[in-house]
């Protein structure tokens, strides 16, 4: 094992490598050169003077933010001799399950392609390209015939994969005892219990002010809200990523949220980002991909039918179609245990087959995927800005919700965490639900996979996502799922079937997430 300082220098090297040659790098160089013209610079103290000037003009802060961002997406440290797959996912059975899953969905995609006789990718004829360019801002008005397309997979298919996960080294008896795990996830991964989470999430505690609780109508604003907004404005003017992340733990005010999230994710809307988006748009215009139809279908089925998000239909196409073609997303496979799906493409001469990543960004959309983007439309309406924020959120958090891994923010851990919390703190409820054939995870899974998007009302969802960003972890999603069950426990104890349990939990639109989380974490007796 490497010691800490060696690990640190490896990380530093990696970050420097990644930042070299970026737009920021060239801008810093340019700024530094311009500094040389300034009269305050003295040759003897050149280095320090330039540094000082860069700090004063805010460029050091920008660099800090960029480094901070890189830290978020740094691949996990590993033994120098370990192959990358082992570093990304140390458990062999998880790796195997992920590989099998990938094979399945790719097979499903390919067979759909063969069945329908539609190529995976096709160059658009020029008239079609022109038509699409004209209709770019209103693709939602198109009514293509999507009846032949089915989503490649839905969350419940994915759940079955986890239910089948077994650690071959773990011998378990089939008997249900108090000590066994009652839930569907039968692997043992580390998870935090409530006392540990109290230490992890102190800002959610009863002695801290929160947006989502302390901005309620009957609470005078000068108790917390006014001061919090004042601090928020300062954070935004300081343009400090790390500060914004810390701030977000207590919630972002509606009027500042867009800027704060942008800061936390370090998505600047600089010319580089805009150009990148335009290039992606050009790729959409030139080529039609099979997955585009899946995207259309998903948006029509989910977001367009949602009371809040139907308005943003056009934006969703503009983001997701570009997303499919963004090869920059492939970078996240450096730390994602999944591998990008590859399809065999015939070369022009027909004699060779080569494997190319398909779709180009390596992400096959599933039923409900568009709901990751929909809430962001509330905050950003410039497509390139919206796109940057979504992409960053995907490569930091959302990808973990649909790949099999042992990562603490991975979906398997979240599901296990949820079940454990329920079993520990609501054993009677869990037992009752088990007995009537209503395993809680079967109901909660869809919430967790979407990080509650489309289930909570928008303002509550955004408050939840504030904390995901603030704590850089999806764990809070699992806690909320358990808290929801706790909240409706009384009604759930009365039900006698899975269907009625689903009915009790069908409508979450009236829930207030922060009080639920706070009560569950800090007012549950342990």
């Amino acid at each position: 094992m490497m010691d800490e300082s060696a690990e640190l220098s490896v990380s530093i090297t990696q970050i420097v490598q990644r930042l070299k040659g970026t737009h920021l790098h060239s801008q810093l160089e340019k700024q530094a050169k311009e500094c040389l013209h300034k009269p305050e610079i003295k040759l003897e103290t050149l280095k320090d003077d330039v540094r000082r000037l860069l700090k004063a003009s805010g460029w050091e802060r920008k660099l800090q933010n960029a480094v901070y961002r890189e830290l978020h997406i740094l691949p996990p440290p590993g033994h120098p001799r370990a192959p990358p797959e082992h570093t990304k996912e140390p458990l062999a059975y998880m790796r195997k399950a992920q590989v099998n899953w990938e094979k399945r969905i790719l097979k499903s995609l390919n067979s759909m392609c063969t069945e329908l006789g539609i190529p995976l990718a096709r160059k658009r004829p020029v008239p079609e390209q022109n038509e699409l360019t004209n209709k770019w801002n209103e693709m939602g008005t198109d009514e293509p015939d999507l009846s032949k397309f089915r989503p490649v997979y839905a969350p419940k298919d994915f759940l079955e994969v986890f239910v089948g996960l077994k650690n071959p080294n773990n011998e378990r008896s089939e008997d249900l005892t108090v000590r066994s795990h009652w839930g569907l996830i039968q692997v043992s991964l580390n998870g935090r219990d409530i006392p540990q989470m109290r230490e992890m999430y102190p800002e959610l505690g009863l002695t801290y002010g929160q947006l989502g609780i302390d901005d309620h109508t009957h609470v005078p604003p000068d108790l917390f809200e006014s001061e919090h907004i004042h601090i928020g404005k300062k954070v935004v003017s300081e343009q400090d990523s790390a500060a914004a992340q810390q701030y977000s733990r207590q919630g972002c005010p509606t009027g500042l949220r867009a800027q704060l999230w942008s800061l936390i994710l370090n998505t600047t809307n600089d010319p580089e980002a805009i150009t990148h988006y335009e290039q992606l748009k050009a790729r959409v215009i030139h080529h039609d991909l099979l997955v585009d139809n899946l995207i259309y279908k998903d948006v029509k089925l989910t977001a367009s039918n949602d009371d809040y998000y139907f308005v943003f239909e056009d934006y969703l196409y503009q983001v997701l179609l570009c997303f499919s073609r963004d090869t920059a997303v492939l970078e996240h496979f450096n730390y994602n245990c999944a591998s990008p799906p590859k399809s065999c493409m015939q070369s022009k001469s027909g004699s060779e087959q080569c494997a190319v990543v398909y779709p180009p960004n390596g992400v096959i959309p599933f039923h409900g995927f568009s709901m990751y983007v929909a809430p962001l439309c509330f905050l950003y309406n410039e497509p390139s800005k919206l796109y940057s924020v979504f992409r960053e959120m995907y490569i930091r958090y959302f990808f973990r919700l649909h790949s099999v891994s042992s990562h603490p923010s991975g979906i398997v851990s979240l599901c296990l965490q949820f079940e454990r919390l329920l079993q520990t703190h609501l054993p009677q409820l869990f037992y009752h639900l088990r007995e009537i054939g209503a395993q809680p995870l079967r109901i909660a899974f869809k919430w967790i996979v979407r990080a509650f998007s489309g289930y909570l009302s928008t303002d509550q969802l955004l408050l939840l996502w504030d904390r995901i960003l603030g704590y850089d972890s999806l764990e809070i999603v699992a806690v909320l799922a358990a808290a929801v069950f706790a909240f409706r426990a009384e009604n759930l104890m009365e039900v006698t079937s899975l269907a009625s349990a689903e009915a009790v939990l069908a409508d979450l639109s009236t829930l207030k997430v922060m009080p639920l989380l706070q009560i569950f974490l800090f007012a549950t007796s342990v």
Partner: protein
């Protein structure tokens, strides 16, 4: 989504109500001319009983047709209430509203100066046809290329409306043989207005929308008006573009018109709750900007009501629930499109039903047939008292504010925690125990 329907209580035994002016009433007899949400609200109100046709009534939720035929012949005792003012059309018919507003503006300019008068500039340039045809043509020629909208004065639900850019379009229209006889007759009388079309509406995701806001007036002299916190934004189903002025579906956001649009899918909502809209705008533009916007919207209600204050026959039996249609432009300036004296009470969805139910319930609380209010309330349920012979301010302690500025008592698009407020405010219905 399943939501519990509002059950305001059980109809318990009717203990005799306290005597009012020598009259004892064991229950409240109501007449209702409509068969939608209001019917449910009245039906479920404890102690209220429906009377049909010829029976005496204490309360009448009538349609304007009934009003026109019967109001002048009805004798109403002091306690009786009816849901319209006799000549409400001074506010709700487009030609009369324009006339009243223009007159009010002139008075204001004379008495208080230009600045004050400019606060009435929330109404797009409008001319009544055919009487103002010539001044209209003058204005039309002064702004070539601009788009105008022609609206029939007394129709609703978007009927008979069209857009035009060239004068010859209206000349064609007048001669158009395909219009029905009824429409042609109307054109002879003063029954159309030509209005400058707002070409830069505020768009959300490329779609145009307008706001429906509810204002309850219980008296004109002195003017007492309440503003409801809930309301909604109605979206056009298609994307906005000025190139297709013939496509009336794009430009008109009335749900009634949208329902006939070929794109319309009743499963798809085309409404956002006011709270949703306010949050969206706040996220986009910041708190202060949106605060200012809503203040300007308040201004529209107040000025429009003041402009007809002296014209409306102020009968103490009357109250009226108006549906205001407001449009925002890209500079976040609100414009008044029209005022409805009979806003639709038919629900388009469960959510819509719940909103209208709450609205009507709170309306009845304010009308207060059961005599439970003191008259000093600034808030009843989801209604905030907006104007009481003068502006109304919230009871905010001055120490909590940085400066000593007064805060208006309106909360359009804000949290509507009416249940709690009502529980604290109202005594239980007679014959009903407090739960």
């Amino acid at each position: 989504m399943s939501k519990n329907k509002q059950t305001a209580g059980h109809k318990g035994a009717y203990s005799s109500q306290k005597k009012k002016e020598g009259e004892g009433r064991s229950c409240i007899r109501y007449r209702c001319g409509l068969t939608n949400t209001i019917q449910d609200v009245l039906n479920q109100r404890p102690g209220w009983v429906e009377v049909k046709d010829d029976g005496d009534w204490d309360f009448n939720w009538c349609d304007v047709g009934w009003l026109r035929e019967n109001f002048d012949h009805s004798y109403m005792e002091e306690h009786v209430r009816i849901s319209h003012f006799r000549n409400h059309y001074e506010l709700t018919r487009k030609n009369l509203m324009v006339k009243n507003l223009k007159r009010y503006r002139k008075t204001l300019e004379r008495e208080a100066g230009r600045l004050e008068a400019s606060k009435c500039d929330f109404f797009p340039c409008t001319f009544v046809l055919p009487s103002e045809y010539h001044i209209f043509v003058e204005e039309f020629k002064r702004s070539p290329g601009s788009t105008w909208i022609m609206k029939p004065v007394a129709r609703s639900q978007g009927k008979g409306i069209f857009l035009f850019r060239k004068l010859k379009d209206i000349i064609d229209w007048r001669k158009d043989g395909t219009r029905s006889e009824e429409q042609k007759d109307e054109a002879q009388v003063e029954s159309y207005v030509a209005q400058r079309y707002i070409e830069n509406p505020y768009l959300i995701a490329g779609r145009k929308f307008d706001l429906r806001v509810y204002v309850l007036v219980t008296s004109y002299i002195p003017l007492k008006a309440w503003l409801y916190r809930d309301g909604f934004a109605r979206f056009s189903n298609t994307r906005f573009s000025l190139s297709s002025i013939d496509d009336q579906y794009v430009h008109l956001t009335n749900v009634a018109v949208q329902k006939t649009s070929p794109d319309y899918d009743p499963e798809k909502g085309c409404k956002w709750q006011m709270q949703q809209l306010r949050r969206y705008l706040t996220a986009k533009h910041g708190f202060e900007t949106v605060q200012t916007l809503y203040k300007e919207i308040d201004n529209i209600f107040i000025r429009s009501l003041l402009s007809v204050q002296k014209t409306i026959i102020n009968d103490k039996h009357c109250f009226e629930l108006y549906g205001y249609d407001i449009l925002l432009d890209q500079d976040l300036k609100p414009w008044l499109i029209e005022v409805n004296a009979s806003p639709s009470l038919t629900a388009s969805s469960q959510e819509d039903y719940d909103l209208k139910y709450r609205l009507l319930e709170d309306t009845l609380h304010i009308v207060d047939m059961e005599d439970r209010l003191t008259g000093k309330e600034k808030r009843v349920g989801g209604f905030d008292l907006m104007w009481n012979d003068g502006p109304v301010h919230t009871d905010v302690g001055l120490e909590t504010l940085g400066s000593s500025c007064l805060v208006a008592n309106t909360h359009l698009g804000c949290v509507n925690d009416r249940q709690k407020q009502l529980q604290q405010l109202l005594k239980p219905f007679p014959g009903q125990k407090r739960t």
